[in-house]
Symmetry: C2
Subunit: 344 residues, 2 copies
């Protein structure tokens, strides 16, 4: 079957191509992709940072929603017409991480849509174990937020945010903002540190305390507001040296810091502070199955104001322009691509 697909060809270029997609193989399902959001990682790929891993003939995309169109041999419990999202992780089942029950960070993990074909195409075959079935009434454009929301659920779980705790989120981009929303839902008093004024305004509109670290000594404010205690939980989502400095400065004694950001270089860290205040740092990467379940629940509960969070929706034909716009516009929260004309 021929399908329209965006193919990453290197050099900041996607081409729209007709592609043959076979029927779903054993253990697979085929999905009519409805929507697919543009992830920060997709932007890195577009900018050429991951060419060695991705190559120059890949269809990327993983923040998706869609409708099952066909079922492969041996797949049970799923049927055509079901609204679904895909948890885009394919683990090996046989490495030390899998053996220890950490399949989501398998040593040989294939990230579907990066290491294998992704969702910026009309018809998409995926392993059936990656499928989460949606309630029919959930808007499919909103459902495409489940993947990044599951990241945030995983991060907040790693930070063990409890009711009444003081939380600092460093970096108010899409993931930082979702982390803030999930942490607030968990009962945290959340402050966001962000340098972009438009994002600060959006954070304030969502009801968060929002501070610009270029204008305010954020750690000092946090300590003042908490009677000298500091933030019980800090999420480092900025990927910057000032963010790393702030995370140790702002944390309470025994404070938990969650490393959400991808630091390409090795920043300097105040390890003395780790010793002195018995701080804790935990890395957090992607999600478990149950994080997806929780993300679906929180989305249904309205924890995310999807309408304002989705900055724009453009058709697949406009994907090149959508990526170009994002590189010049750090104000956007979530840019989304409508893949299927039938998507409502």
């Amino acid at each position: 079957m021929s399908t329209k697909a965006a193919v990453y060809r290197g050099n900041k270029t996607f081409t729209l191509e007709g592609k043959e997609v076979p029927p779903p193989g054993p253990g697979e399902v085929q999905i009519d992709v409805a929507y697919c959001g543009i992830c920060g990682t997709d932007l890195h790929i577009y900018l050429g940072h991951m060419d060695q891993r991705v190559g120059f003939k890949r269809t990327i995309g993983h923040e998706m929603s869609g409708i099952i169109s066909a079922i492969g041999e041996g797949v049970t419990g799923l049927s055509a017409g079901q609204h679904v999202v895909v948890r885009p992780l394919d683990h090996c089942g046989n490495c030390p991480a899998c053996n220890a029950g950490h399949e989501h960070i398998c040593h040989n993990l294939k990230f579907i849509g990066i290491d294998t074909e992704g969702a910026f195409q009309e018809k998409w075959n995926v392993p059936s174990h990656t499928i989460h079935v949606l309630p029919d009434e959930l808007d499919l454009s909103h459902a495409a937020l489940i993947e990044p929301l599951a990241v945030a659920c995983h991060d907040v779980k790693r930070g063990r945010v409890a009711k009444g705790e003081d939380v600092l989120v460093i970096g108010g981009g899409p993931i930082g903002m979702l982390v803030a929303l999930v942490a607030r839902h968990a009962g945290g008093n959340v402050t966001i540190s962000e340098i972009n004024e438009n994002r600060l305004a959006y954070a304030a509109k969502l009801g968060f305390a929002a501070l610009n670290p270029r204008e305010t000594d954020v750690a000092k404010v946090i300590h003042e507001r908490t009677g000298g205690k500091g933030a019980d939980v800090v999420f480092e989502v900025s990927g910057s040296q000032p963010g790393v400095d702030l995370m140790t400065d702002a944390a309470a004694t025994r404070g938990r810091i969650v490393m959400v950001a991808i630091h390409a270089t090795k920043p300097q860290i105040d390890l003395f502070r780790f010793f002195w205040r018995e701080l804790e740092l935990s890395g957090a990467r992607v999600y478990h199955k149950k994080d997806y379940d929780e993300a679906m629940r929180l989305l249904a509960e309205g924890v995310v104001d999807c309408k304002s969070f989705i900055t724009d929706i453009q058709p697949l034909d406009a994907i090149q322009g959508a990526f170009e716009a994002l590189t010049s516009n750090p104000n956007a929260m979530k840019s989304m691509i409508r893949i299927s004309e039938g998507a409502s």
Copy 2:
């Protein structure tokens, strides 16, 4: 009452002085100090690194044992003649850390023997709440190891070492060696990374796998020996950049790293690895009351070979020479000062 005391006068100098020690005040006990070990922190003080905090008229020392000689007003449950050690922490009881139950890292913590008078003197008054009573049969020179052993117990608890886990200790000085012993007692398979050949030989004599990171790729060996898994728990006790590099390289997926060392500068850290493998880093400082109880238990069980661990015991009169020797001799494990002539 006049007592003989070593007084730190700055410029790498202790003077031995006669000092008036008053009777124990309300809530205090007076101890005839028997032995006091030389801690790494004492060496830092001697070398002038902490002059601003310590001043030039302080008697330092805190790794001690002794016998109660007098009891102050209002002290119950203790009596003259009891063999004791002191847990040298005096907390404020009223800061965010104390309020959260972390008195041992109180924001206003006074470390007895650094911030207040210490144990390199014959008669020593301390708050009664710091006292742990020893079994009479315990050798008082061995008992002076309880303080550093309690540090190790606290570190191993922070690392949650479980039976059968692979453990790497980076740095085989006195604290690293005690951490290794306690981790092995908790069931860990312990490897020690250390650059000093004499300490390596001692580690091997104690039955540990001992590697010199200047000759061996320690992370590679750890991964090979664990089927590609890595170390479940890593203790960073070296305080060095190569140690910090090794801690992330050697750790397993979801590995726990414990920051025992005091890093005076801010080293560079592979935060990407924290994200990618969901590593955990926990600072560990001093001890709880129950860490002291455990250290006393482990010492009684013979977990530490005190005879080989105590490198030398010298009289108080020789304290200056003992400190001089330690700065030129990184081979020693524990150098100890015999304070009271009556100490057996």
